[in-house]
Structures are given as C-alpha cells and as structure tokens.
Symmetry: D2
Subunit: 341 residues, 4 copies
Amino acid sequence: MTNRNFASDNTAPVAPEIVKAILAANDGAAIPYGGDDWTARAKQRFREQFGAETDVYFAFNGTGANVAGLSALVRPWEAVLCPESAHLQTDECGAFERFSGSKVIPIPTKDGKLRPSDLEPYLKPVDVHFPQPRILSISQATEYGGVYELDELRTLCGFAHERGLKVHVDGARLSNAAASLGVSLRVVTASVDLLTFGGTKNGMMLGDAMCFLKPGLGSETGAFVQKQAMQLSSKMRYIAAQFEAMLAGDLWLKFATHANAMTKRMEERVRSIEGIRIARPVRCNAIFATMDHGAIERVQRDYAFLVWDERLPEVRWMTHWATTPEDVDAFAGALERAVSG
Amino acid sequence: MTNRNFASDNTAPVAPEIVKAILAANDGAAIPYGGDDWTARAKQRFREQFGAETDVYFAFNGTGANVAGLSALVRPWEAVLCPESAHLQTDECGAFERFSGSKVIPIPTKDGKLRPSDLEPYLKPVDVHFPQPRILSISQATEYGGVYELDELRTLCGFAHERGLKVHVDGARLSNAAASLGVSLRVVTASVDLLTFGGTKNGMMLGDAMCFLKPGLGSETGAFVQKQAMQLSSKMRYIAAQFEAMLAGDLWLKFATHANAMTKRMEERVRSIEGIRIARPVRCNAIFATMDHGAIERVQRDYAFLVWDERLPEVRWMTHWATTPEDVDAFAGALERAVSG
Amino acid sequence: MTNRNFASDNTAPVAPEIVKAILAANDGAAIPYGGDDWTARAKQRFREQFGAETDVYFAFNGTGANVAGLSALVRPWEAVLCPESAHLQTDECGAFERFSGSKVIPIPTKDGKLRPSDLEPYLKPVDVHFPQPRILSISQATEYGGVYELDELRTLCGFAHERGLKVHVDGARLSNAAASLGVSLRVVTASVDLLTFGGTKNGMMLGDAMCFLKPGLGSETGAFVQKQAMQLSSKMRYIAAQFEAMLAGDLWLKFATHANAMTKRMEERVRSIEGIRIARPVRCNAIFATMDHGAIERVQRDYAFLVWDERLPEVRWMTHWATTPEDVDAFAGALERAVSG
Amino acid sequence: MTNRNFASDNTAPVAPEIVKAILAANDGAAIPYGGDDWTARAKQRFREQFGAETDVYFAFNGTGANVAGLSALVRPWEAVLCPESAHLQTDECGAFERFSGSKVIPIPTKDGKLRPSDLEPYLKPVDVHFPQPRILSISQATEYGGVYELDELRTLCGFAHERGLKVHVDGARLSNAAASLGVSLRVVTASVDLLTFGGTKNGMMLGDAMCFLKPGLGSETGAFVQKQAMQLSSKMRYIAAQFEAMLAGDLWLKFATHANAMTKRMEERVRSIEGIRIARPVRCNAIFATMDHGAIERVQRDYAFLVWDERLPEVRWMTHWATTPEDVDAFAGALERAVSG
C-alpha cells in the first residue's frame, strides 16, 4: 500500500542506512556524554563538510539546537531578527525567549525570505530602551519551501556582518536546499556564523547539530549551553553514529535529492489539475497550493496533510526520503478526483 | 573480552529487547509529536504501572524531565528542597534555575536521604523576602546507591504534604530501587506527586518520562513545559516504543534485578579484600568504596570508574543490564591485585 | 524664563503638593517594606478610586510595574498581545521577556489602538507549538496621545474576556485619559483586570502601582512578583505618601487637566501655522506633528523635543503639570519663526 | 519622645541634608534617564571616592543593584559563591536566579565572612555538569555586623582573582564598615571588581549604585542591565542628588560614624546587664545578642527589633544616623528592666 501521509517530512520512518549505523554503534561500553569514538568521528565529518574550524555540539531536536545555539551568541538585552514565518518565532513555543531571556523580532516577509531592505528599519543607533539586534536568523530552505540563492545569501550575510549582526541559519532542511541549489553544504553555508543542521527531517531517528562555523565562536559557550539547554545526551553515540552515516557518504544528499525529486514529480502531476493552484515556487520538498474547502475535505478522508492557512485555504504537501513515485502518483490521482468533486 | 567499564550505567549499550522494539516501530509513516500509536500504547503501560490517573510526557533525558516536570509545579518565587547530593543540584548545570527562574535549596545529608527533621528548618512562615519552598525533590535510588524504605517514604511524603509541599521523585534509577525493595513501581511511588522515570540507565537508548501521578496535576502544563523545555520529539514513536517494551513485560525489572545482582556479586567478591572498604550500604547497582590512591591508579590502567571524592579517596563502581558475572569477577581480581601493589 | 523642554512629561520637576507630602512623611521611624501607615492609607485611596477589591503593590517605575504585574498573570508559555507601539514592546528593553520568560506578540495598528478584529487572527486553538495568548495589554492614553473611548473599551474588554484573555491597561498616562474623557478613574478602568497606574509623568518624583482590580487576582502573587522584580522599596512611605496625595484630593485630575489644557492651547496656536501639520488627533498631553527637517533643526536650537519618526519627519511635543501658558505661547512663536525659515 | 525602633537602619527617616539636596534638585525641567546635571555630578563624586575608572549606574534598591550588577558579570551557566548568610541568598527572593538564570552557591560560615579555605572546595576543574564559579560575593559590613579587615580583604581578593573569580562587594553598609575601619571608601574597596553601594540604610530616601571599579568591566553591559532590571529611573536627578550630597562632603562618613557610635554606646550600656549576652563582635551599627524569650517579649511591648534566630533566641538591634544617645539609653534601660522580669 502506498504511503498516504504528506503532512511533514518528520512523519517518515528512519532510513535503513541510519538504522544500520545505529546498530553498529550498539557495541559494548562507551564513554558517555560524547566522549565516545562515534562522536569524535561524526565531528570530524562535520569539519570535512563545513570547514576545519567547525565546532559541533549535538542536540536532540531542532528547537533545542536553535535555542541553545542562539543563546550562545546573545546576551539577554540583545535580540534576534528573523522572518515572521521562522520556526523560531512560530513553532518553538517561546522556548528561546524563556531560555535566553532575549527578544525575537519577527519581520514580515512575502515569501519567508529576508533582504537587507527588510532589516534596515530595525538597525537603529544603540539605545538602552530597546533590545539591540545582534543576530540575523534565516531558514534555508525556508518554511515556505523556498531557497535563498547563493548571491542572495552573500548579499544578505555581507549586509548583516557590516551592520554588526551575526548570521544564524536554521538548517532543519539545509540538505534539501543544498540539493536544490546543486552545491555542497560548505558552499551553502559560506559566510554563516551559526548553523543548526537537522537530521530528523532527512531520514534520521532524531538529532540536530549546533555548528559554530567561525573560529572560537562557540568555544567557551557551546558545551555549556548544550548541557544547560538539556540537549546533552548521555549515550551520545546513538546520535553521533547517525550523523556520521549521513555525512560520511553523502547520504544527506541522496535523501534530499530524492525528496526534492518526489516533490517535483508531484508538482508536474498537479500543475495541470484545474482547481489546484500552486501558490509558491517549488524548490525543495514542499508544495504550497490553494484549492477549495470541499476538495480538501474530500482528499483528507484518505490523506494526511496540513492546511497551512484556513482562510485561503492554502495547503502544504511534503515528501521525504521514503516517498515513492507510486505514493506521489496515487496522491495526485486522489487530488484530481477530489477537485472534480 | 570482558567489559572493563564500571563508570556508570549509562556506558552500557542498548538492550536487544529495546533494539527490537525500536526496529518494530520503524514501520511506515507516523503522526509526529506523539500523535502516533506507540506513544498511545506506551502511555497506557505507564497507567497500568503507576495508576490510572498517571499523566505522562516523554523527555529526551533526565535533566530535561527533571527541569520540565518541576517547572510545571513551581512558580519562579517558589523553591525546591533537595539533598545537596541531588542530581538536580550537582549535575544539571543549573538548568532548572535557568529555565524556571526558581531557586534550588540544597540540604546537607549524610547519606543522600532526607528526613522530616532535615526539612523542618526550611519551612518558615510565608515571607516575600525568600523563595517559598513548594517541592520536596528526592532521588530513589539515591545518588549514593541507597534506597528509601517504604516506611521512610510514607513518613517523608506525609510530612511534606502536611506542610504544603509536593513530592518529586527523581527516578533515574527507580527500577533499581523497586527491584531492591521487591515491590512494584506503583508501590514505590505511592504518595508521590511527580515522578521522572528514567530509561537510559536501564537499557534504553534514550528517554525519560515526566509522570504526573495526581489527577489534574500536569493537565494544563505538562504538554507546554515539554515543548518549551525542548523535550518534544517529532519522531516520538522511537522513544515511546522503548518505554512500551520496558513496561509491557516487566523488562525494567529484569534489567534492574540483574544490575543489582551484579553489584551484589561484586560486593561479595570485594568485601574480603584488605585495603578496600565499602563505604556505604549497597542496595542497588552502585558500590562506593575507599582505597588508596596508588591502588586506584593501578586499577584504572585497565578499568574505567569514577573517583567520587578525591580527598578520601572514595570511588564508585556501577553495574548494569549488560554486566556479566565474568566482568565482575575479572574486575574483583584486578582490584585485589591493585591493592596488593 | 520659560521652560523650553517639551520632550516628555517626565522632564518636569515634582509638584509642590507632592513635595509637601514627602516632607510630611519624613517623620521619625517607620516600619519598612510597606508596613507603614502611609502605605496603608495610600492603598485605601486606591480602593476608593478603583473599587473596594483593588489590590495594590507599588513599584519604582512603569517598566517595573508592567513587568511585575504582567508576570503575576502569565505562565512562561503564555503570551501578551499588545499594539506594536506599546511601551512594553518598544521601550522596556525586553525586561518582560527576560523576567517572565513569556512572549510579547506585537500587533500592527494605525493609531496605537487595538480593536477585536485586530486580535482575532491571533486567537487560535490551543497548540503547544506556540505560546498561548493570555493577556491583552493596551495603553490608556496611547503612546500616540490618543484615548480609547468608553464604548471602545467596553467592546474590546468584552471581546477579550469572551476569548479567555485578561486585560491589562498600561496607565502611565491614565490620568490624562480620564481627564480627557471627563470620567473617574473607576469608570475608565471598568472591565480591566490589571492596571499599572503611573505617577511619575503626572507630577510625582517616582512611583508606579500595580493594581489588581478583580478579587483574588494578585493575592497569591502580587507581593512576590513585587519583591522578585526588585520593586519593593524598603522606605516605602516615600512612594506611598506621594500616591496618597495624588488620590486623596483629586490632585491627579488637577494636574492632568492642566497638562491636557496646555496641549490643547498649543494645538490652537499651532494649527494655523503653515508648514506644520498636526498628524494625529490631540486628546491628552501630546501633539504629534510633521514639519520639515530644516524647521525642526532651527527650533531645536532653543527647544528640546523628540523626533518620533525621522523619515516623515514626525515630531512629538508634550506638556505637563508645570507647563505654563507662557511656555506654550513662546514655543508656538518659536515654531512659527522656525517654519518661516 | 525617643525613637523606639531598633529593627533596622531602614526604619530611619531621610536626613535633612539629603532632603535639602532633593529640594535643590527640584528645579525646572531636566533631561530624563540620567542625562541631567545632577547625575553627571554624582558620577563624578563616585569617581573621586572610588577611583577615576569607576563606572556607575544607579538603582532603586539594593536588590536591584545586586541583581543587575552581578548579571552584568555572569553568564547563565556561571555561578556566584557567597556566604549562606548573604542578603543575595537570604533576602532577595531569588531575584538573581530569576533574572540572570545563574546559580547562587551558598557557603556555610561561622560569622558571615569567607576565607580562601572556605572557597577551595568549590573551585574544581571546568565541568559542563555544574555551573562554573565566576564571582565571589561578600558583604562589607557583613549581615552579622562584622567587618573584613583590610588584610583579610587583600588575601581573599587575591585568592579569588588568582582562581579566576571576580569579586563583588555588597556594600549596603559599606559606609559603616569604612567608618569602623577608619579608612576611605577607596581603600576599603581596593581589589574589588563590582561594588553595590547602598545609600538607603545611611540616611537617603532611596538609591543604590552599581559601581564597576575596573576599566571596561561594565562598559558594554551596565546601562543595559540597569534598564532591563527595571532600575532606570526617568527622573534620575532625585536619586543622583542624594548621592551627590552623600559623597561631596563626606556625609556618608558622618552618618555612619554616628550610627556606629550609637551601637557602641548601646554595647557599653548592655554589656553589664546580666541575662543579655552579646553574641558577636560589635563593629558597626548592629548588635546581636541572646536573651530569654520572656525578656524579649517584655521589651518588644515598647520596642521594635528583630528576633534573628528563634531557637537561641538571638536578637538584632540596629542604630542609624538619627538614633540619639537618649534613644539608646532609654532602650538600655528598658532592656535592663525586661531581663530582670
């Protein structure tokens, strides 16, 4: 039977390569809290992929990595600028504000992407009456399935650094973005100061990584925020082994390329269906589309997916490493039947 | 080759029964964030073991469960009373203070156990100048490998409730305590308000559980603190499946009984060695002993374990589900050789 | 010489009636931390003005009162909705987020006032992924010198309560609003749950008051948040005596009426000046106006006032209890000269 | 009638010299938030008294100054070591923990004073599992009315700095200590990094000062923590003018010397009374004494003072700038009558 869940890439099971890595790590005693060999090797893989200066601390989930990582870089009277669609702003239940004491300043965007002109009005002279912007946080891929082009990133990071901001990339779906752009992880994170690199949405069981990409950036703080943010796993090897597998053989790329291709296939199948309008550029593993309420209701009898915005209504469909062409085709068929009533 | 790591029960690999449960859960799509069937079944197992009112929220690790659980019960001007040896006080890097804003009040003890007379001096009339004690937090088993007897628990919990305190049990090693006492999990947590039940030290890969044992206690708060404390796993099924396996067939008891027995075996082997003094009652899966610095150094060439207190010096040896009689006997032999120079 | 500072009502000195009250309180020993007679009498005056259920805690300043008061009503996973122009959002350096751990959700407005339709999009079903709105915080008078009419307040508070929100009024300039509306303090705060009532901008030396207006609302929390938010004065009588004087003889009304009248006089003088456009309705003691950069520069050689928005540019002029008709007329003359170059 | 309140030095009224300074400051408009002339002059006085590098930020009260000042120097995974009798630990309702997220580590002492040997056990190698000690906080005078001798301070500060700690002095009663030691404020704070200098207990209406005594220590943070900790007064001149008066003419010394002398007089009167035992060295403006419950009850019919420890019982009597010899003699007489039944 085909998989009928297009709600999110976190509905997917764990990929067999990852399972294998976990099982291989399950071998005898190991030093806890990251003193083990798997952790050492996984960190080496990160340095290979992201640069020799990369300082990595693992976290359990994306919220943990975002909150701990950002907290290492801000003081409580400093603020984080992000798109108002950022996961940090909309989906982390204020964990960052609670843990760090800092303010998040959400900036309206049309497409989930920020440009220098969006930031300008928030960058005022130092004033004790308002938290001082210190970090620019963007998502690559964006929460709308978009990607920043390399030149957009260069311009934006350059502007941010000029204005005294550090740049954080929420990379829950960085792999999908890099695959879409056809570049390495290192190229897609050039100029970035802090990356949170997610594995859960790309075939892992669980695990995220705070990567301080500039020399010294996390050296006094990374390990402490990891621990204090409740993200230090005692049996670290089981997270490390997954990342090792993901990065050692470009498994991340294989999975992300597949997921993106399945979404592209869906786009092709759906584009011609009357009654469905693809609402945003399709760049990674998500499609946002509008269709009428009745059709949504009909197709949701058999399929799971999110209604992103009830008012339009706009829906989101996601694919992942395990989505098959058959899953996509069956879904496209169901959509077609649903819109035709 | 025998296992030469007696540093902690978190150096152990994952038990095969748990691996099997994880693999079984790796089957197709699942609703994320705990909406899946494994989570539903695991929660049912908790209710069977701890009572029908039990309200369970999973966490990634013990620090996460302690911090999130306690934060659900205190306001920032309220305080937690605990032994000064509590994991909460000594090993969580102030995560509770940071996340909750509340104060931890550590109370000196001889053996890691609190009695009503220890608490009395801290229970003063309401006064805005000092955080009001609101929670009594104890560990069962204790950080010194001891256990509270059932009548001690009854007396202590009764006293705490009379004086307006709620009772939290840090149950990172609750299974070992229950096995040692020969009672069910429910009996050993009678009168307790909040339990944090650990699986990682008893054969799981990772996972802890906040269990609100009184009706309504966590109903408005549990899910929010779980999320805000960065403990909500998107692929929850992989934690839930482990707990389901642990509780469904009393696997927890099998593992804990074995770990305790291995420590008992070690106690028997070591008791007669001249130059080693067992420093505390041996009740679960840890031995605390004193021996001279030279002997420690010699045995640590081949074996890993903690020097708990450099000054005496006092060492700690732990066993776990995977420790074998051969491991123990080999270690006892090594100890004997080490002390005889 | 006339006063040439129209920057804010907090540039004013302390009114003689307030000085007299402070000196009268400076008499012998007094019980500290609010156990004194002046505090008792001042609290009684609040109950007379705001209703018999009013539970009052003094603070040093408006930020302290806002942060402590709101913190008494929210849990860290709950949020405060406010206009994006709110002092809480723009001028308190994130103190609320840091102290409470909660999120502030700023809502765009045209005039600093919120209506039910502005709130509606933020009131979604319970979802652990986002902080739950729990408080509606509005300013009366608004930061733009506007006021909510009584029927607007009734409608807005009714809507908020229906939707499970409590209502906070930032009353740094409540006196000016009540004077403008011609109603009592009680009438202008009907339906409000928490009021922070400011004295500093209306002739006092310093002092703000958290007023819990509904029975029981602050009874378990008010005193603790006052202390923990560093707002509990040991020599409380000197704050209390000021409030006693303000409320005993309707001094608040006298000062606010005068300040409003001075602004009205300025409006009349300025309205006819070509090159100055009054940009917002003038209701209390502030005028917002646009004029060209050169004119601003010329008049600022002799007068102090804020450029609110550099881009238009829009300026703000404020009057207070001590502003004289001569001050206003001289300023209007200076403005006229400045715009004519 | 004589003053019958010996409960605390904060029961005193405001000294006439201070009142005069406040009234003199009440003159026309002033720039708010510390941009005024009084603030500039008061800061200059601090530099004269404490050294040219002194960077001062005013606060409303001692808790505010302690919390804001310390928060400028610690990160949330760093800890403050202090005597367990410290005001920070016992009387600030956990404000520091809540605001900073950091841990306070209270150290038992006999007399409220710390020595290097008390600190040694808390200074362990870096370990992410426990908050790293970063600040040593001591009180001068101590909460038991004692003082650190200059050589004790030198030794303690030298030890702290060697071990990577910064030194904070809670100087709520620094004036009394300096007067008792017969040295300048600068000498008594040599080697100190952060001083919180209190005025309220020595004749002021209200006001405390965070003084960063080392170059650059507070330069990026002082103003922000002052604001974010809700300690930034809009009408700052009224606090600044008080400090200006205190420091310009050594008024601090006159008041403290007097208060100390009154306590010394009381000690002399009381020493010979049978049934009263002076329990601690009398160095400043507090006497700690033991006497029986009945006598306490009898004398408390007419006099206010604290029972410090109910169990002994031990009481505390304090004098201040306004205590007269007649007050003291009358109280000594009352004590004599009370103990003789």
